[in-house]
Amino acid sequence: MPAPIRLRELIRTIRTARTQAEEREMIQKECAAIRSSFREEDNTYRCRNVAKLLYMHMLGYPAHFGQLECLKLIASQKFTDKRIGYLGAMLLLDERQDVHLLMTNCIKNDLNHSTQYVQGVALCTLGCMGSAEMCRDLAGEVEKLLKTSNSYLRKKAALCAVHVIRKVPELMEMFLPATKNLLNEKNHGVLHTSVVLLTEMCERSPDMLAHFRKLVPQLVRILKNLIMSGYSPEHDVSGISDPFLQVRILRLLRILGKGDDDSSEAMNDILAQVATNTETSKNVGNAILYETVLTIMDIKSESGLRVLAINILGRFLLNNDKNIRYVALTSLLKTVQTDHNAVQRHRSTIVDCLKDLDVSIKRRAMELSFALVNGNNVRGMMKELLHFLDMCDPEFKADCASGIFLAAEKYAPSKRWHIDTIMKVLTTAGSYVRDDSVPNLIQLITNSVEMHSYTVQRLYKAVLDDISQQPLVQVASWCMGEYGDLLVSGQCEEEEPIHVTEDEVLDVLEGVLVSNLSSPITRGYALTAIMKLSTRFSSVNRIKRVVSIYGSSIDVELQQRAVEYNALFKKYDHMRSALLERMPIMEKTTTNGPTEILHTNGEAEPSVRDSKHPPNIPQPSSQANDLLDLLGGNDVVPVIQTELPTKPASSGGELLDLLGDLSLSGVPAPAAPISVSQPTFLLDGISSQPLFNDVAGAIPPMTAYNKNGLKIDFTFERSNSNPNVSVITIHASNLTEVDMADFVFQAAVPKTFQLQLLSPSSNVVPGLNKGTVTQVIKVLNPQKQQLRMRIKLTYTHKGSSVQDLAEVNNFPTQSWQ
């Protein structure tokens, strides 16, 4: 078989390939040749073959069949072989292949080789890809080499030790004695790697950190020598003596001085010296200065030094070199929390950086600008930031918009300014705004009562121009629905009122409904807005028409809404005005929208915020008639939801039926519990606790019913969080000898109240007063009327079923006032 071609020829051949396919062909051919050569166990050409294999690996072709060959090369005696073998091991092998453990013995022998270069290559490989097991086995050898006088090996051993510590942190103590003399070296290479080793140890263990603090004076001395020494051709880089070592030492000083007063004091002088003496014309000097600044900021330096550091950063900002500016912005971002005032001085420069062409600089400047906004400069900064929002790339817009909202919320000087700013953001970057900002904005608008007409007018104008930006359209539809009457009436204090007719408003909303640009959520908003206008506008017929059209829409959400609104028109017209009243002021529970809980006193607010709502169990709207009334379920487990019911009509229906159909026979005891998805009871925040530790007040209990041996007592509590809510606990006890089984308690209240029944403790009332059945009733009494209740009891006693009705009127005044 002819001698395998040299690496050079292979490369030359591959370069002549014109297409990827040709290249692949050549490589495959060569791979086959290499494989057969490997099979022949040819020692002379193995190293050549592996070299070629590595080249092909770099181009991206699979080369795993060469792994064992690398091991064979490592075991060879020739340096050439070893070198390529180790290189191959570093490139092809890693700790996931079991093969790598075979290397351990070879490396061990090579670490004790007579030639320093062999030792060096072995150390290099161990330091690059040594696995935990290998490190454990060979740590002793590494430690021995760390103490050798050969500086070439010593520096390699130091870095290898770092790798060992990273892989097996427990071995750190082993290297401790060897570190004693490391800093006494003259050789910069060894110094450099020793500092790296010390840094690694200090970062990993606070004990080591304390131990090495005593080295601070020595480090300061070394640094001083570096700065003061004249020109030394060996270590010079652009006129500065070994900047890499200086940077490393500064970093180690930072770690040692953090939080420690004594060390920080020892460093103050040298830091000041470095900061003032370093030449800043080249990148090298700036690198050192940058590191110095970071160190000054991290340790407990005196204030003069800190001011010096920030000024250096400020000078960096004005530098022409982009890299320097980038670096300055990054470090200012880190320090803005602690030294806010000092950074403020450079605000104008930072704002100028927003206009830079470089993407990285723009991003840093934007983040820093947001950090610098405060009550004094908010107007100016906002102007700049809004301008930036307009001009920037799409990747920034979302972050910028959120940042502007947050800043505006915190520092808005006036409500009008706040609303103006929000409008501007919505119109410039409307489609990039986060989903949860829509509810936030709506809440903000609702709360600024005096601005309603101004807001709705501006939103109307904006929507006339452009309906493609969903958040804008959503907010606008909501506002038009709520404040449409203000819009049409033409009153506006802040601005010149515009003349808008009802039809124009409805046109716009219908336009949103039919447009292709609108998302389903936006359509939902629009439909609800139209519905709300039915109580505010006079052209009800048009609205009725629109609503009935959507009753057969393909979109299930829209269809459901439309059908319910239709029902509202038809059957429950008398309730419509009450349901569609103006929204009250909303309380904010958190600063992030989705968990917002709205009070709606009896008003059904069907505008679901967004799809983040957990899906309500969909109920066909025919249930609006059937209702799930409270007199129905046996095990009614009402889930008190904090979200809003989407079935306004059904809750209205229930209230009706509570008093209407208390037909004795009519109420079946349903076998299956009817799933309650909508709360008939809108509580705020008292979510899932059935009872609250509230003022148990001095409300006396009362006996509601006492007949045939069944006695029912009511005990009362008032809720702290909502004064309109009373909690009644019934206690049913049985004075007869026989138990009462299948006990069901039902209650009904007049229209103005709302009732919620929780599940009873049990169905059996044991006889002879041996126990009681308790059940909790919650009553919402917004109008503070006299509480009246009709109760219905069913149970089985002595084999026969008993039913009874009663009225309870003698509620104590404290329970409902």
Partner: protein, 193 residues
């Protein structure tokens, strides 16, 4: 810690790739491609720092690169390295290559990939900077190359002849060879900045 060192040309072809953290072969190639995409989009007068791509660790890692003629030198580092320091390191690396290969160009890197690896392993070990003194590095590399040559036997004869000529201490090549009416200007080979 340095996560990876990549050298590729203006078309994205890798000329050197060294990873100090383990990735599968596929991932390595993807990283090279992704890095090339990120870096080639950059203008020439923007800063030399970029956030790392998704594959190489996202925004925790930075790409620090320098563009020399037809080659991009990219170092992917994490936050423990000083960005400006790495820029200087790239400069030292290129200058070392220049010294070792005499006015290095892309072809040198292509045909002597193993030598470039050897030089690199004298500078960076296990993701950490080992030696930054150019002369020191070159001395070590030369010594090791000598060892290799002494083992090479007969196959190394041509290489030995070439190095013998190089070491012959010829007088300096005159810039301008003037033979009567013919004036030949010796081109000034571009040096790397």
């Amino acid at each position: 810690m340095i996560k990876a060192i990549l050298i590729f040309n203006n078309h994205g072809k890798p000329r050197l790739s060294k990873f100090y953290e383990h990735y599968t072969e596929d991932t390595e190639q993807q990283i090279i491609r992704e890095t090339f995409h990120l870096v080639s989009k950059r203008d020439d007068n923007v800063c030399n720092f970029l956030e790392g791509g998704m594959l190489i660790g996202g925004s925790d890692n930075k790409l620090i690169y320098r563009h020399y003629a037809t080659l991009y030198f990219v170092f992917c580092v994490d936050s423990s390295e000083s960005e400006l320091g790495i820029l200087d390191l790239i400069q030292v690396f290129v200058e070392t290559l220049d010294k070792c290969f005499e006015n290095v160009c892309e072809l040198d890197l292509i045909f002597h990939m193993d030598k470039v690896h050897n030089i690199l392993s004298e500078m960076v070990m296990g993701g950490m900077v080992l030696e930054t003194n150019m002369n020191e590095i070159i001395t070590q590399v030369d010594a090791q190359n000598k060892m290799e040559k002494s083992e090479a036997g007969i196959a190394g004869a041509p290489a030995r002849a070439v190095s013998a000529v190089k070491n012959m201490n010829l007088p300096e090549i005159p810039r301008n060879i003037n033979i009567g009416d013919i004036s030949i200007k010796v081109p000034n080979l571009p040096s790397f900045k």
